[in-house]
């Protein structure tokens, strides 16, 4: 489920809930994982802050008419971790998984 419907003006963080209804995951049933959505266009500096010098030069190449095999893409640039309580077959296990929740997005 997403926070807002309409099309995005530029790359940014959007709320996304991911369902964890696997029989070995006891808690949580779902979690707020978020996603990065929206186009990567120039100028980046006034919009999403999470871009690299490399991205700026790729967009510059495109603007000059050189086609790219892969255009800059709106992706997670900062994550946080998430606790998950699993059933191992014998008992429960608390595991903290890294890079589960998107905190910041950027054009890469």
């Amino acid at each position: 489920q997403n926070r807002s419907a309409g099309s995005q003006a530029y790359c940014r963080l959007q709320e996304l809930t991911i369902n964890l209804r696997y029989d070995f995951i006891i808690v949580p049933v779902e979690y707020t994982a978020n996603n990065c959505e929206g186009p990567c266009r120039r100028p980046l500096s006034t919009r999403s802050p999470g871009y690299s010098s490399h991205t700026v030069l790729l967009l510059e190449m495109q603007a000059r008419g050189t086609p790219l095999r892969r255009s800059p893409c709106c992706v997670p640039v900062k994550y946080s971790s998430q606790d998950v309580i699993l059933f191992t077959g014998e008992g429960l296990q608390v595991t903290t998984y890294p890079e589960m929740v998107v905190e910041e997005c950027g054009c890469r």
Binding site: F24, I26, V27, Q82, F87, T88, G91
Partner: protein, 132 residues
């Protein structure tokens, strides 16, 4: 001076109210000594040393509970603070949902009121086998 004092007083009341609302959540804390790897005690500050203790949550207002269901009886397995308010922790009461795994049925809930995870307030639907 009177309207200004009134405004100050109103501000103080609001501050006290918010202070209460945004204060620590208290949850029941329990972890079974059998077949448990890891712990959820890092999510809060443990108060009582008893078997069923109290924990003050660090970063959320959400309690969780997990019970093992067998022959119609529920046995607590884990109770404590859940680390996030954004994982479906909307109900003030512990309304569990079942999960059927390898012949074991667990009932689990997230809830957002003090000690809401002490007991199951409403049992989930009979567990059906899950997964694909």
């Amino acid at each position: 001076m009177c309207p200004r004092a009134l405004r100050l007083l109103r501000g103080l009341c609001l501050w006290l109210l918010l202070g209460t609302v945004s204060g620590n959540r208290s949850c029941v804390f329990y972890e079974t000594p059998h077949n448990l790897q890891g712990s959820m005690r890092h999510q809060g500050r443990l108060l009582a040393g008893a078997e069923h203790g109290t924990i003050l949550c660090h970063s959320s207002h959400c309690c969780f509970g997990i019970w093992n269901q067998s022959h119609g009886r529920l046995q607590a397995v884990m109770q404590g603070c859940w680390g996030s308010d954004r994982d479906g922790c909307d109900s003030p009461a512990c309304k569990t949902s079942p999960v059927h795994t390898a012949g074991v049925i667990f009932q689990r809930c997230l809830c957002r009121s003090d000690f809401c995870n002490a007991n199951v307030s409403q049992l989930g639907a009979p567990a059906a086998p899950q997964g694909e």
